[in-house]
């Protein structure tokens, strides 16, 4: 019966790991990310490039409402740089002493300012489609970062036999293949501050990594702590097994 424990656990794990797959989903290409694995960590330069892509491209339509400007110090910006970055955006505040709302430059303590005042405004500006908030997008889609990256690089000519709806584009990895978002990236769309060549593939990888950080800012700390905790527990388990053996040595069983 002992041998079967592993089998049962594996079977249960499998049963749990079979989420309902969206129709027509094509597996996106698997990317080797620096944040994968037990010792994974973010590439700070890539995060800053990804932030640049988000700000100059994605942020035109997509909000990132769960991230604060102050969080940007974690990807390598100094506090003064963060203050300057935040101040580039206007945010509505108030009411003031006269009861009036007013605009002011954003501060590090503000959340990322959304491009639209509300969902209806966002739909009205986007042909009826709502650009989703990107704060958790790498966690909330089946396939995670690979899927988001695939979406960026997955725009193709629609197959001749496929009937496309008005204003829709064909994407190889989007469930159903018809996506309301036009291809967001093209070569040299942004000019990277660090001189990296801005190919579509490069920008897709950078912005995906930035969005993984936005969704899981605790990722590096979590993995670093995890290595220590698991090592400690393995050691403790080994020692407890030795103690158990010693204590049970006078019990024939």
């Amino acid at each position: 019966m002992r041998r079967t424990l592993g089998a049962i656990l594996a079977a249960l794990a499998l049963a749990g790991a079979s989420p309902a797959m969206a129709a027509d989903a094509v597996a996106p290409p698997s990317v080797k990310w620096t944040f994968d694995g037990l010792f994974g960590s973010f590439d700070r330069a890539a995060l800053r490039r990804g932030f640049q892509v988000y700000t100059e491209v994605c942020a035109v339509c997509h909000s990132l409402r769960l991230v604060h400007y102050r969080n940007l110090t974690a990807i390598g910006f100094s506090e003064d740089q963060v203050k300057a970055l935040a101040a580039e955006v206007e945010v509505t505040d108030g009411p003031d002493a006269e009861g009036e709302m007013f605009d002011r430059p954003a501060r590090p303590s503000d959340r990322f300012v959304s491009p639209f005042a509300n969902d209806n405004a966002a739909r009205a500006a986007n042909n009826g489609a709502l650009p989703p908030d990107l704060s958790l997008v790498t966690k909330s889609r089946i396939g995670g970062p690979d899927y988001i990256h695939g979406l960026m690089v997955g725009y193709r000519e629609a197959p001749a036999e496929m009937e496309m709806s008005e204003g829709m584009d064909y994407n190889a990895y989007f469930p159903g293949h018809q996506i309301a978002m036009p291809a967001p990236l093209s070569d040299e769309l942004v000019e990277y501050a660090d001189g990296t060549e801005a190919t579509v593939g490069q920008m897709a990888k950078d912005v995906t990594q930035f969005l993984v950080w936005a969704a899981e800012p605790e990722l590096e700390e979590r993995k670093r702590m995890g290595v220590k905790v698991v090592l400690f527990l393995v050691l403790l388990t080994g020692m407890l097994y030795a103690v158990k053996r010693a204590i049970w040595s006078d019990v024939p069983h």
Binding site: R2, L12, A15, G16, P19, G226, V230, T237, I247
Partner: protein, 426 residues
């Protein structure tokens, strides 16, 4: 054996008035336990410890959580991002739910394999099924609290099941919701009850333990202890064994918490609840998938009974049938080790439950409908037909005369060198 600290005068003064020390000595230290318990007996205490972990992390989460439809999702994300080690506490809590069910399911199947529900442990078993039901209610309501898409739509689907009740169904559903749809009143009451239920579970667990200690643990041989040589004191033998098991469990658990914290979760639940947008596939958490498969296996009305009503009855029936197990299995032999046919049927049941879980995770189309119906039929047949039938037709293998016999070779005589037995303890 009298513990040295029992001679302390302060301990004696307190114990004379509140017998907590002699209670601990009797139930935690000297408590006579069969000498031959396997590692399958670790899962009871493990479940108890996970319950404590869930309550402690849950209390901390509740300090930072806001049970309001406009704030619940963001307050959970605030825990993940801004509360010190909030991500750790929440990931322990969410993965702890899955771990709790894995442990309890193993614990239940262990009971089924070794006949731990048989006389005189029927009430012990029944209390265990009550704990399972309470756990399911708690887990379901807890999953609603982050107010993601699966939270909302899961709550909608499950609460709507009660509308299948004839005549008063719709009234019941409105009463459960506190309105005419799953909304803020629903979230509020689910939070309140999610905080209450674990303490109800603690209460039933205490009864479960009182009932257990009345006759002591069953054991892999399924025979009663014949004398002191069959038992050893709980401490240090089983305390150290449970500690080792706990540490091994925590190692695996930490692997999930730190390296795959969303393995058991649905990605969809990281999208805020939207009552106007139904997800393509609404699936419950993995530990409910077998029941979900049973619910959806009934695709036809029978006479005036709607398919939905029969599905709901069978879904709850799949748990309720466990209450009857001590009386459905009339075989005098407890352990499957000595029941050649039951042993095989036990494993068929395990596979059947895994199949039901697999079907529950897939859309109810095509082949999955048929497989789900067969697996559902087999599930109930196992308990209602095969169990009673085996009691009559199966010839059990001969039982050993005592627990000590297969270990020590001799009959039931005192062992040559076993200073650890209860003889010394008494």
């Amino acid at each position: 054996m009298t513990q040295p600290w029992m001679k302390n005068r302060l301990v004696q003064w307190i114990d004379y008035r509140l017998p907590m020390f002699s209670f601990a000595e009797k139930e935690l230290i000297d408590y006579p336990t069969p000498r031959n318990l396997s590692y399958w007996w670790n899962f009871g205490s493990l479940a108890g410890i996970v319950l404590v972990i869930m309550i402690v992390t849950g209390i901390v989460l509740a300090m930072h959580y806001t049970p309001h439809v406009d704030h619940a999702f963001d307050s959970v994300e605030r825990i993940m991002r801004d509360v010190n080690y909030g991500w750790l506490i929440r990931y322990i809590h969410t993965n702890g739910g899955s771990a709790f069910f894995i442990i309890v399911y193993i614990h239940i199947f262990r009971g089924l394999y070794y006949g731990s529900y048989k006389s005189p442990r029927e009430i012990l078993w029944i209390l265990g099924v009550v704990i399972l039901l309470c756990m399911m209610a708690t887990a379901f309501m807890g999953y609603v609290l982050p107010w993601g898409q699966m939270s909302f739509w899961g709550a909608t689907v499950i609460t709507n099941l009660f509308s299948a009740v004839p005549i008063v169904g719709d009234i019941i559903v409105t009463w459960l919701w506190g309105g005419f749809t799953v909304d803020n009143p629903t979230l509020n009451r689910f939070f309140s009850l999610h905080y209450l239920m674990p303490f109800v579970i603690v209460g039933v667990v205490v009864l479960h333990l009182v009932s257990l200690h009345q006759h002591g643990s069953n054991n892999p041989l399924g025979i009663d202890a014949k004398g002191p040589q069959d038992k050893i004191p709980f401490h240090p033998y089983y305390t150290v064994k449970d500690m080792f098991g706990l540490s091994a469990f925590l190692t695996i658990f930490a692997g999930f918490v730190f390296f795959a914290p969303n393995f058991f979760g649905e990605p969809e639940n990281y999208i805020p609840a939207d009552p106007l947008l139904t997800p393509p596939h609404i699936v419950p958490e993995w530990y409910f998938l077998p029941y979900y498969a049973i619910l959806r296996s009934i695709t036809f009305d029978i006479w005036f009974l709607s398919a939905k009503l029969i599905g709901v009855v069978l879904m709850f029936g799949s748990i309720l049938v466990l209450f009857l197990v001590p009386w459905l299995d009339r075989s005098p032999v407890r352990s499957a080790r000595y029941r050649p046919i039951y042993k095989q049927l036990f494993w068929v049941l395990v596979i059947d439950c895994v199949v039901l879980g697999w079907v529950g995770g897939n859309p109810p189309e095509g082949i999955f409908v048929i497989i789900g119906q067969i697996a559902t039929l087999y599930y109930f047949a196992h308990f209602l037909v095969l169990m009673p039938l085996l009691s009559v037709i199966e010839t059990p293998r001969p039982l050993p005369t005592s627990i000590a016999e297969p270990v020590l070779g001799g009959g039931s005589g005192p062992p040559a060198a076993a200073p650890q037995t209860m003889e010394k303890a008494q």
